[in-house]
């Protein structure tokens, strides 16, 4: 569980990584530093140490400077930070709606009729099969 200081630091970094637009919320507005980061840390406990080190590295730095430092010299830490922030952001129903993302399940409907005419051309063209006579 992140303490309030770490959560505040995360919010600043996350909003620089994922700012808001007219269509999409920022990372903070989507809830990344609140419950969503806790959820994804639960999915990937192996990333917790590198993620915490990334937050520690940002201590006392402006957000962009911190991200430059971490991504330039601490690859594992930046991978953990960026993957978890992005992963948390994409958990948000608000974000999925803005993205028009309607995940499966879907039915696997037969759609042969949509391409049967194109396939006739492939069949008519034929194929130069090598070595069939050697079988």
């Amino acid at each position: 569980m992140l303490d309030p200081t770490a959560r505040e630091r995360l919010a600043v970094l996350a909003d620089v990584l994922i700012p808001g637009t007219d269509a999409f919320p920022s990372a903070s507005a989507a809830g990344v530093p609140a419950d969503l980061i806790d959820r994804v840390l639960g999915f990937r406990p192996d990333l917790v140490p590198a993620f915490e080190r990334a937050l520690d590295l940002a201590d006392g730095l402006e957000a962009e400077a911190a991200l430059d430092l971490i991504s330039g010299a601490h690859i594992a830490e930046f991978e953990a930070l960026s993957t978890l922030v992005s992963g948390a952001y994409l958990q948000s129903p608000q974000v999925q709606q803005a993205l028009s993302y309607r995940p499966a399940p879907r039915q696997a409907n037969d759609d042969i009729d949509t391409y049967a005419d194109l396939l006739e051309v492939v069949v008519d063209r034929g194929f130069d099969i090598h070595g069939a006579e050697l079988s």
Binding site: T83, S86, A104, Y115, V122, V123, F127, I129
Partner: protein, 540 residues
């Protein structure tokens, strides 16, 4: 040491596709079969493709690299000397648990590359010899596809109709049509309709991290229930260290360790290795003794040599409309064999198979590439990157034929061991000059295919590191015992009660996804073994 079960007629090491086929065939023919598998069973609900954790879990817990995954059942592989990361899964069903289910049979020319192209070696049998076994396995597992592909000499059938190609497949097909190039709705080992114990595909697109619907034809679902019903005994959590030999020079069985660290010896009259193109040579090399200083079945010196992995290129096209390219199957929607056969004017021999695949999951679109400026994908770039590519990006993936080279090899690492202290494998592998030229040609054509389909941009990953699914050739078949490890039935030239039935026995790699061929070859060999039981040497 103690025996876990009574003496077996046949011991199979590995419960993947080839082990499952062999276990079923031999158990139903009356053999007492025991299979040792170092992993465990997985149920569809274990997979995360239908859960919020999926995209993060597939980067770790369900990653196809055992090095990345690091499960208890996994063994490490030193791949520092390889541009390709070996990918496999240890569990009942083997790597078919995580495979993408491209169910492609090889072409006639694949079995005659020496005769036709003057390279490598011909296989000891032909496409026609293998065809009945392709047909039988295809119908047993419930593959989906459309008969009549003109690139094959026969209009082979499928028990299930093809999976939908969707908006994305149709867009790509129109591009291929403009160019006059071959394409076909792709064959997949994924059920398009309910089939036996499997429901229809639900299009999660999570095939490569385990099918949460249970629609993919992994060997735990297709063959093991039947094999067990026929009497086969499957022991999970059983990691084999070495094969043992008796005073007659025959294989007597295998030493293995269970998950509680207890060592056992399983005796058997006949032993079959089905542990994949790295696991099988690892066991043979780890079985070295004073009688077999270079490892078992290795008088040819070719155990571990001639490893082929199929360098794989991804050519992505991004389009100006939502093509729902996040939907499965993944799986392939189309395949093309336009540039499969040799055309020497291209500057190389042999060719490759193309598969059109979706790009499931939004997280995959925004992951940071180490070494790049974070501003390229984050900050003000983030939303353009996400919205501009998600659902709009298609992959033409190119499996390129990998010709055998003795320098491409599986050896034992001098230092690395698994969690039980058993020496681990190391692979030394480089991409050949022929393959470099082949890659460049195919990539350029795939870019053209995207452009013909109207892509607004393309992106090439020339050699995808995490693509080493196809581990082939490291204990090859052949007629001559001086330049092959096993004969056409998978039987060791040196030890007549030892068989290799996984992809290690491939003579060449073919240019297609190998599982259909691995299973057909295994079925052909197991049936021959059963048919000729009275002549088979046994340690019992």
């Amino acid at each position: 040491m103690q025996a876990a079960v009574e003496d077996a007629d046949v011991l199979i090491v590995g419960a993947g596709p080839s082990g499952a086929v062999a276990a079923h065939e031999l158990a139903r023919r009356g053999f007492k079969v025991v299979c040792l598998e170092q992993g465990d069973w997985n149920l569809p609900d274990d997979f995360t493709g239908d859960k919020p954790s999926w995209e993060l879990a597939r980067l770790k817990q369900w990653h196809p690299s055992p090095n990345r995954r690091g499960n208890d059942a996994d063994y490490p592989i030193n791949a520092e000397n390889s541009p390709l990361e070996p990918l496999l899964f240890n569990g009942v069903g083997g790597s078919s648990i995580l495979y993408s289910g491209h169910w492609v049979r090889a072409l006639p020319s694949d079995f005659r590359v020496r005769t036709l192209d003057g390279v490598a070696d011909d296989w000891p049998f032909t496409y026609e010899d293998l065809r009945p076994f392709y047909d039988e396995v295809t119908h047993h597992i419930g593959a989906s596809g459309l008969e009549g592909d003109p690139s094959y000499p026969d209009a082979h059938t499928f028990p299930l109709p093809p999976l939908p190609i969707g908006k994305a497949g149709l867009r790509a097909a129109r591009g291929m049509d403009k160019l006059g190039w071959h394409w076909w709705p792709a064959p997949n080992a994924i059920s398009s309709r309910a089939f036996r114990n499997r429901p229809a595909c639900q299009r999660y697109g999570a095939c490569e991290s385990g099918c949460p619907a249970g629609a993919k034809a992994s060997a735990d679902l297709t063959y093991w229930p039947d094999a067990i019903a026929a009497g086969a005994v499957l022991v999970t959590g059983a990691r084999v260290r070495t094969l043992t030999t008796n005073e007659n020079g025959l294989v007597a069985g295998a030493e293995y360790v269970d998950r509680d660290g207890r060592w056992h010896h399983q005796r058997a009259g006949i032993t079959i290795l089905a542990a994949n193109g790295i696991g099988t040579p690892r066991i043979l090399l780890n079985s070295a003794s004073s009688a077999h200083p270079d490892g078992l079945a290795n008088s040819s010196g070719l155990v571990g040599k001639r490893l082929m992995i199929h360098p794989y290129a991804s050519v992505y096209g991004t389009y100006d409309e939502d093509l729902e390219s996040h939907l499965g199957p993944a799986g392939q929607s189309l395949q093309s064999l336009q540039f499969y056969e040799t055309d020497e004017s291209r500057g190389f021999v042999r060719g490759g198979k193309w598969n059109l695949m979706p790009t499931p999951g939004p997280l995959n679109r925004v992951l940071w590439e180490p070494g790049t400026d974070w501003r390229d994908g984050f900050g003000s770039s983030f939303h353009d990157r996400l919205s501009g590519t998600f659902g709009r990006t298609l992959e033409w993936g190119i499996t390129t034929e990998d010709l055998p080279e003795e320098g491409n090899e599986v050896v034992l690492d001098p230092d690395l061991t698994d969690s039980d202290g058993i020496p681990a494998a190391k692979i030394n592998y480089r991409i050949t000059e022929n393959n470099d030229r082949l890659l460049d040609f195919h990539i350029a054509r795939a870019v053209e295919a995207h452009e013909a389909a109207g892509a607004v941009s393309t992106h090439v990953d020339r050699v995808v590191r995490d693509s080493g699914w196809h581990l082939l050739g490291s204990a090859r078949m052949g007629e001559d015992r001086t330049d092959s490890v096993v004969d056409q039935w998978g039987r060791s030239h040196d030890i007549p009660n030892l068989f290799v039935l996984d992809g290690s026995n491939f003579v060449t790699s073919t240019g297609v996804n190998p599982t259909a061929t691995i299973m057909a070859v295994a079925l052909r060999a197991a049936r021959h073994l059963a048919d000729h039981r009275s002549h088979q040497v046994s340690a019992s």
